[in-house]
């Protein structure tokens, strides 16, 4: 064999060796990285994405981690995740308990996004769905203890739509009302002002990723009252007017307040109350 051919053979051999070593190393590394990437797709529930993110997967395919949204956020709400934080590296998020979204009308973060990862079709901030507020701890929320608070309700930028106050009977005292904040997913943007303002040490109302917070009714379900409205009449049997047999003086307001007691009865108050008033 001539030395020239030998040399070509040797260099070819070295080239193939190099290629296969590189390919082998890269493939091993790639498998590890691929597995890691699957894990990093799960966003911790305390990290809320900026407005205009519908789906975490779509967002991660589009965001180039430039931080222009962070720069244009006037309230320093948004941050880029750093190495060591459990959020896809370099992507924008906010922690509602620290600094919530102020829901700017001109949505500067969405305007700043060069890729469209924050959906440019979002032009009305009320349509944003960054997450969903959930009154997650009814044991700690003082409204459930019968105390007046309603701070979350009062700071809500979409008050009376996203959070309303439902009154109900206070069983513990027997005579007071509970003023219970109720979140409505139809209007909650997930801005997190309620979580930020919650007066507890650890907020009882928290913004969670919508996917985590929201249930979904089986698609085959039909709600009779809705179907009745749609049809304009009862679909099964014709409605009969209810008749009641009630004690003297009490009324029942059908489709209204329900049971109505007469204004005063001899045993309306407890004996102790009567004693305190000095009426005995």
């Amino acid at each position: 064999m001539s030395s020239a051919t030998n040399k070509t053979l040797q260099s070819r051999r070295r080239f193939l060796e190099n290629i296969s070593r590189a390919a082998g190393g890269a493939a091993l590394f790639g498998i590890g990285l691929g597995l890691y990437s699957q894990q990093s797709k799960s966003l911790p529930s305390t990290a809320i994405r900026p407005p205009g993110v519908d789906n975490e997967g779509d967002f991660l395919s589009a965001c180039v981690r430039c931080g222009l949204c962070v720069r244009d956020c006037p309230y320093d709400t948004l941050k880029l995740s750093r190495l060591g934080e459990n959020i896809a590296l370099g992507t924008p998020y906010f922690d509602a308990r620290k600094i919530p979204c102020e829901m700017c009308e001109d949505i500067p973060c969405v305007k700043a996004c060069p890729t469209g990862a924050l959906d440019p079709e979002l032009t009305n901030i009320d349509d944003a769905r960054m997450g969903l507020a959930v009154l997650i701890d009814q044991e700690a929320c003082i409204a459930f203890q019968g105390l007046r608070c309603e701070v979350c309700y009062n700071v809500c930028p979409v008050r009376d739509k996203a959070i309303s106050i439902n009154r109900s009977h206070n069983i513990r005292t027997g005579k007071h009302a509970l003023f219970i904040p109720v979140v409505h997913s139809s209007d909650c943007t997930g801005c997190g002002k309620c979580e930020h303002a919650c007066i507890l040490e650890e907020a009882a109302i928290k913004v969670l990723p919508t996917k985590l917070a929201k249930g979904e009714l089986g698609h085959h379900y039909r709600l009779s009252w809705e179907e009745k409205d749609k049809a304009g009449k009862s679909l099964v049997t014709p409605d009969i007017e209810h008749k009641y047999n009630l004690p003297e003086g009490t009324r029942y307001d059908y489709e209204g307040e329900g049971l109505i007691q007469p204004e005063s009865t001899p045993f309306n108050e407890s004996a102790i109350d009567r004693q305190n008033k000095g009426s005995l």
Partner: protein
């Protein structure tokens, strides 16, 4: 090279040309790298926003949008077609590097280069001999892997671990643990393998070297006849394999350093006492 082992590299050039001329390109490069990082930091530090964002994508004077073509390519591979802003920004940057040289990004822009140059300087100073040999093809493997993973998983997988964009971003925004990567790369380059990161592993450099294959501005061993075999250029070059075909090729071969892996750092021009190298466009032979 063995007989020159105790010689200080570039000493002849310093004696012949003076210290400043023998470090001209190195100083220009450091100035370029530091001023780019400085411009990005100017906004957050002083509130003067000449440039916003980071090297992945940025906005200059609130008008011109630039995007890194490698990051853009990964986005395309996820199956997502970004807004026009990013597409035009990536095209502008790619065209720029197609003119000045693909890996000009590596040697004139990327701040990691300062780290790996420092590691190589320490390596020469301490005469570190250990060298784990791994293939310079590894970076192309990683380039392929980064694009395949992007398309399989539908997300920018490489950007989860890319030390280059990570460090650039955390310098400009807020520092997380990416300084560990800086130290890691320094140790790797200084004590494990020469030019391990930029010359063997970094897929970003591999991507830019593909642009470098056709880019216009090139280093040219135009006076190769006056080469006195001091080997200083080989000693300083981050990709020494690219010099040989141009410098030591036969008479009919082109003196242009054609390899896409040449970073146009021009350190060879600095250290050559005989003025063998110069910067020209690739069409001069």
């Amino acid at each position: 090279m063995a007989k020159n082992i105790n010689k200080v590299i570039g000493q002849d050039a310093v004696i012949k040309k003076g210290w400043l001329l023998a470090h001209k390109w190195l100083l220009l490069r450091r100035f370029s790298q530091l001023s780019i990082i400085g411009l990005f930091l100017l906004g957050p530090v002083s509130g003067i926003w000449l440039i916003k964002g980071n090297m992945s994508s940025s906005l200059i004077l609130d008008t011109l949008s630039l995007t890194d073509p490698f990051v853009f390519l990964q986005t395309l591979f996820t199956g997502y077609l970004p807004e026009m802003t990013v597409i035009s920004g990536a095209v502008i940057v790619a065209l720029f590097y197609l003119i000045v040289g693909g890996r000009v990004y590596c040697s004139w822009v990327c701040p990691i280069n300062i780290v790996t140059d420092a590691a190589d300087w320490l390596r020469r100073l301490l005469k570190v001999k250990t060298s784990l040999n791994f293939s310079r093809m590894g970076r192309y493997g990683l380039l392929v892997i980064s694009l395949v993973l992007a398309s399989v998983s539908g997300m920018l997988v490489w950007e989860l671990v890319n030390p280059v964009t990570m460090i650039q971003r955390e310098i400009v925004f807020a520092m997380g643990y990416s300084w560990l990567f800086i130290i890691g790369i320094f140790i790797l380059d200084a004590f494990v393998s020469r030019r391990a990161w930029c010359g063997h592993l970094c897929p970003m450099g591999a991507f830019y070297s593909l642009l470098g294959r056709v880019s216009i501005i090139k280093v040219n061993a135009i006076n190769r006849d006056s080469c006195n075999d001091c080997m200083d250029c080989f000693a300083v070059c981050p990709e020494p394999q690219v010099i040989k075909p141009a410098l030591k090729g036969n008479v009919s071969s082109s003196p242009v350093i054609n390899s896409g892996n040449c970073t146009n750092c021009a350190r060879c021009i600095d250290v050559c006492a005989e003025n063998v190298f110069t910067i020209k466009h690739r069409f001069i032979n």
